[in-house]
Symmetry: C2
Subunit: 463 residues, 2 copies
């Protein structure tokens, strides 16, 4: 007997060309969120999506306002209360693209070449978002129903740091209530190496300013009895680190969830060698906490980096001053369960406590982002593993992202649900670059996998 | 019986107005060394001075070329071989001045107001230089001879850091041979507190650049295993200092001449209180090596200051990078007998030895200047004390300048003679500022003192 998901898969294969045509329509809309000159295009893309969802039978699909660019929302709840509800998050906005940037063809006139769709947004995120829309279409057009309930939350401001998404989620918590969230907005190293990102780092970003004299001083007339503010800042920053390259702020590591043996084994699968790290970054030697592997340092451990600093004379030649002030930008990448606000408070207290009376210090919080850490042994994660095995043909690795996607942590925290990041892109897709593209094979295998995932979720006894 | 110096002093009083008129002629020439548009004025000032010296009977006075702006040289050797020869150094060039800068009157049309001559160069250095010319004139026009031999070395590039003076001195060592050099280009705090500067600090000025990755790195993707170049620079700079605020570069203090009790007593006469230092500079608290008083730290001890540093993102808001590189400008004020080139070598070796293998470092020497330290118990210094006592009416203090006047060290070293800095300016003269002025009283008392000094030198049995 042919199962519902097999029928849906078959449908997706039969309609592959038309799915691609549908995607092309969306790709043709230059929905640049960062450019007010494209506000009409953004609205047009949102409306197109809402209408497209409606055309699949999601009659309630609609464009919903935010304080900024609108969200597209739609839900299909036909599976019934006893079935899980999946919230699909994606975004319809894109970063700028001009053919002059080095594109081989106009970035908003999608073309296929060598099995790849070339267009701005092809992989990030219109193509990957479409996978979930087309998975649902494939069920609805074959069995008339999907195995689980689905809600779509598609925003238009992801590329400008989602300033209005968290307020939107908070305001519509009931509407968005679900058992898990699926996001396809990440990538894998190679086609046969699918990856599920189960952790992202958060952030606490501060700016420090140290002030000494009331103005720049002549270093000959006054040097020797004034604490140089640049030196004071050097001393302060120096005390933020231990000699083993760990961070010396008291309490900094208190909330870090220790790595389990299983997690370390998983991370080892994507570890980098010293030579690989050196070749890619160009550093003469690696650095860091020697108790952890390179990949662990890059993804599972918190950091503290100087992003910039400045003081005094920086032009050519000598100028003999004691600068009036010195400043630095410092940011910490955080891991589960560190709280960015608490880390700021710990940093501020510590820096103030180590600042000598010879200078004054100001510490400002520039931005924060929550880390996200979703255990990979929970049922919805293991269901994703089975989906990849059956749909993609390979068992996925669970990876930790070293960067931050604040929306992931916000969804996980505000809605209190696990987020499953099933990225269907390739590292080489060129997102944000000229000639961004998306392999048709990835698109089609993605739909196939997404179809199975919904079936696997339906079979879970409890979430 | 009226002595020769008394006759000369009497002459200087009788001709005070005419001396002032002569000075005005020189002040009217806008001899800006830093502005090629005034090259003709610079030449005119040099020629005027040479002619003026000739008019006093110094027939060999002449303008001599350098690789830059010319030197005026003249000598009167009528005192005989058994008498000392005094080299008078001064400069006829000035810094720019425009009435729009805030002058009450045109800066090159000298006027007298409240007993002060207002004009660019009035105190720095045309007025102070004139004191020695008029002291010699006063002798020659009364006794027909001076008690000592005199040579004048008057340069035209002091305000642009004397790039051609040391080569000139080296080339003309025989011509410039003398027993001592007198320079009047410094100032006293108050009229009744004459000061002789017997020490100036030298300098070693370096630039350090630390490089890590081949380009700025995304701090999320790569942070944790790359040694942040800004942090590496912070660590390097931190190791240049000991916890007692002394300098940790091995060998740095080896050649520092220890302060004698007599020198410390002398320095104590012009010491600053913590409150005075704080009020003037605006620092919240003083800093430095607690084994030394504030004035000692500012003038008799070497320093190491950060003059500037830079790395990464310094604009508004956050940017999450690991910077590709970081740089700093560092300068050390040196004291006798530290050698700037040796200090550079010590710094370079030490910095390279403490630079970790995780980054690359470049250390560049930007500039050097020799320190100058002339003991104040030598006969020519003590003769200056007596000259102030008799001519000025007050015993001078010996002070150490915290800044650098490289020419002083160059004259002292190349010609191997003591330099006596008898400054006849006031701290409040406003040199390099709008409304620069010179008190007529300082001018006249200066000539009187300079006349006696020559007499005191003539009485020294040996130099």
């Amino acid at each position: 007997m042919t199962t519902n998901y097999e029928k849906a898969q078959e449908y997706s294969q039969q309609h592959a060309d038309r799915f691609q045509e549908d995607l092309f329509e969306l790709l043709r809309i230059p929905s640049l969120s960062g450019d007010p000159g494209h506000a009409d295009d953004v609205t047009r893309a949102a409306e197109w999506l809402a209408e497209h969802l409606q055309s699949l039978g999601i009659e309630n699909a609609r464009v919903m306002p935010t304080a900024g660019l609108p969200v597209v929302y739609g839900e299909w709840l036909g599976a019934g209360d006893d079935k899980p509800t999946v919230l699909v998050y994606g975004h319809y906005d894109v970063v700028p693209a001009e053919i002059e940037d080095g594109w081989d063809a106009p970035p908003f006139e999608p073309v296929v070449k060598d099995g790849k769709i070339f267009a701005r947004g092809a992989t990030d995120n219109k193509g990957q978002l479409f996978i979930h829309i087309k998975a649902l279409e494939s069920y609805l057009r074959t069995s008339g129903k999907a195995p689980v309930n689905l809600k779509f939350l598609i925003e238009g401001e992801e590329e400008i740091a989602s300033p209005n998404l968290t307020p939107f989620i908070k305001e519509h918590q009931d509407l968005l209530k679900a058992d898990l969230c699926v996001i396809s907005d990440t990538s894998m190293r190679a086609i046969e190496e699918p990856a599920i990102t189960h952790s992202l780092r958060g952030m606490t970003y501060i700016e420090i300013e140290v002030e000494g004299p009331k103005e720049d001083l002549h270093s000959g007339l006054w040097g020797g009895a004034a604490h140089n503010p640049a030196l004071a800042l050097v001393e302060i920053i120096g005390k933020l680190y231990n000699t083993d390259n760990t961070i010396a702020v008291p309490g900094f590591y208190d909330d870090v969830v220790p790595l389990t043996d299983a997690e370390r084994e998983m991370i080892a699968k994507t570890d980098l060698s010293e030579d690989q790290y050196k070749a890619t970054t160009g550093v003469p030697a690696i650095w860091g906490d020697e108790n952890y592997t390179i990949r662990e340092r890059l993804s599972a451990r918190p950091t503290l980096d100087i992003n910039g600093f400045w003081s005094g004379w920086t032009g050519p030649g000598p100028k003999t001053i004691i600068p009036q002030k010195a400043g630095a930008k410092l940011s910490s990448r955080l891991v589960g369960n560190q709280d960015p606000e608490k880390i700021f408070s710990l940093m501020k207290d510590y820096i103030e406590s180590i600042t000598p009376e010879t200078v004054n210090v100001k510490i400002e919080l520039l931005t924060t982002g929550l880390p996200a850490l979703i255990p990979f042994d929970i049922p919805v994660m293991q269901a994703a593993v089975r989906a990849y095995e059956k749909g993609w043909g390979h068992s996925p690795v669970f990876t930790r992202g070293g960067g931050s996607i604040p929306v992931v942590a916000d969804i996980a925290n505000v809605l209190d649900i696990p987020v499953v990041m099933m990225g269907y892109g390739l590292d080489s897709d060129g997102l944000h670059s000229p000639n961004e593209h998306y392999r048709i094979e990835m698109f089609q295998r993605g739909i196939k996998t997404a179809i199975i995932y919904l079936d696997e979720l339906a079979q879970l006894s409890q979430l």
